[in-house]
């Protein structure tokens, strides 16, 4: 590393947020996950976030490794369960800014139940989902996000199921911020991450990413670079689009943009209001006389 220090005049701005003792990372050449990490590193500088209080929670999978590379309090949990872990972390310590950073299979297949409920209860979390259309860590199996007709190792004749439209899912469950971009849109991703982290409640950013090793290769879509060029040519930016109309179809244009940015009291806000009320006024209302006496005794 001394060579780097001597010859590299200026440190890469992402490095101060990375566990440099763990770099180089395990991601393949042309994998989009690293690109999203660059965006995240820039976003946390711009967002209203106390970096000392930032916690990253990932599940399992290629994107699940993000937690292990970011130099914050970072938790690499079990498959699909990053969101409930993050919910507990945030509720126990509301001063923290908790970001869930994981992949599509982790967040919306095995973790789908937690995803919809966290959105429903408007848990104070930012969820970043890198969607590469397949289970990559295990070798390219079809996922609930793989477009109809695309190939996966478990769909050798093409997928027979309709995939999730994640922004629609998030919105209908109650997310207060929803955006979708591809890894081609680095500036927009950064902005979306900033906006998402500045929201109270459940904010969601989907990032469509190449997985050249598995998804692109199996579907003969070329290299990561080919895919990025395809994103560039086939992304249609429609901010404010009705999320019902932004399904992803195999090799059809991808509609990107910010779709939801609303305000709704978050889980913490509602809880604080209710519990504050109980602690204040109704403190004794439900407590029997005898219990009241014993509580007073202890205080």
């Amino acid at each position: 590393m001394t060579d780097v220090a001597e010859t590299c005049v200026q440190e890469n701005p992402v490095e101060r947020y990375l566990r440099m003792d763990r770099i180089p990372h395990i991601w393949c050449p042309g994998c989009g996950i690293g690109t999203t990490v660059n965006c995240f590193a820039r976003a946390i500088e711009q967002a209203d976030v106390d970096l000392e209080k930032l916690a990253i929670v990932s599940g399992i999978g290629c994107t699940g490794r993000v937690a292990g590379y970011l130099n914050f309090d970072s938790f690499h949990t079990t498959h699909g369960r990053a969101i409930p872990f993050a919910t507990g972390l945030k509720l126990a310590n509301p001063d923290l800014k908790v970001v869930v950073y994981s992949g599509d299979g982790d967040l919306v297949a095995i973790g789908g139940n937690h995803f919809i409920h966290a959105a429903r209860r408007n848990a104070d979390l930012t969820v970043i989902c890198v969607n590469n259309f397949n289970y990559a860590m295990t070798g390219g199996q079809a996922a609930p996000t793989t477009p109809l007709d695309a190939m996966g190792t478990t769909a050798p004749y093409g997928v027979c199921e309709r995939p999730f439209n994640l922004p629609f899912l998030a919105k209908s469950c109650g997310a207060v911020y929803v955006a979708r971009w591809t890894t081609y849109h680095v500036r927009q991703i950064t902005k979306a991450m900033v906006e998402a982290m500045n929201k109270d409640g459940f904010s969601f950013v989907e990032i469509i990413s190449p997985c050249p090793t598995l998804y692109e290769r199996r579907n003969r879509l070329g290299s990561g670079l080919d895919r990025m060029k395809w994103f560039k040519e086939n992304s249609v930016i429609k901010n404010g689009s009705d999320t019902r109309n932004i399904d992803i179809a195999y090799q059809q244009p991808i509609i990107c943009g910010k779709f939801v940015d609303i305000d709704r009291p978050s889980l913490l806000e509602v809880t604080e209001a209710k519990i504050g009320d109980i602690r204040g006024k109704q403190r004794w209302a439900d407590v029997s006389r005898r219990q009241k006496k014993s509580i007073e005794q202890t205080e």
């Binding site: 590393m1 060579d3 780097v4 010859t7 590299c8 005049v9 200026q10 890469n12 701005p13 992402v14 490095e15 990375l18 770099i23 180089p24 990372h25 991601w27 393949c28 050449p29 042309g30 994998c31 989009g32 996950i33 690293g34 690109t35 990490v37 660059n38 965006c39 820039r42 081609y184 680095v186 500036r187 950064t190 290299s223 990561g224 670079l225 990025m228 060029k229």
Partner: protein, 94 residues
């Protein structure tokens, strides 16, 4: 970990004397590069080309072809999945 022999190609070194007014500068750690080509493709000003040489891992890495054009926009840094390149604005003193 393999020894990281990094090259930071400052614009001056690469194209001697030419770009006094280049607004930015690009830094490359060629040993960390995995040759995806994103930086070369998406540099809006065509500063970079892929080298015909290989790094220790066997990947082609980017080289600066037109240092004078670099604006320091850092798009290469935003794209690079391997944290091996970034751009910075040069101080505009005097």
């Amino acid at each position: 970990m393999a020894k990281e022999s990094a090259t930071s190609v400052s614009s001056e070194e690469k194209s001697a004397g030419a770009p006094k007014k280049a607004r930015g500068q690009v830094y490359i750690l060629q040993e960390r590069c995995k040759g995806c080509g994103y930086c070369v493709e998406f540099c809006p000003l065509g500063v970079l080309v892929m080298s015909s040489r290989f790094n220790a891992k066997g990947y082609h890495y980017p080289e600066v072809a037109h240092a004078e054009k670099c604006s320091g926009c850092d798009l290469c840094g935003m794209y690079c999945p391997d944290f091996s390149i970034h751009g910075a604005r040069r101080p505009t003193k005097e």
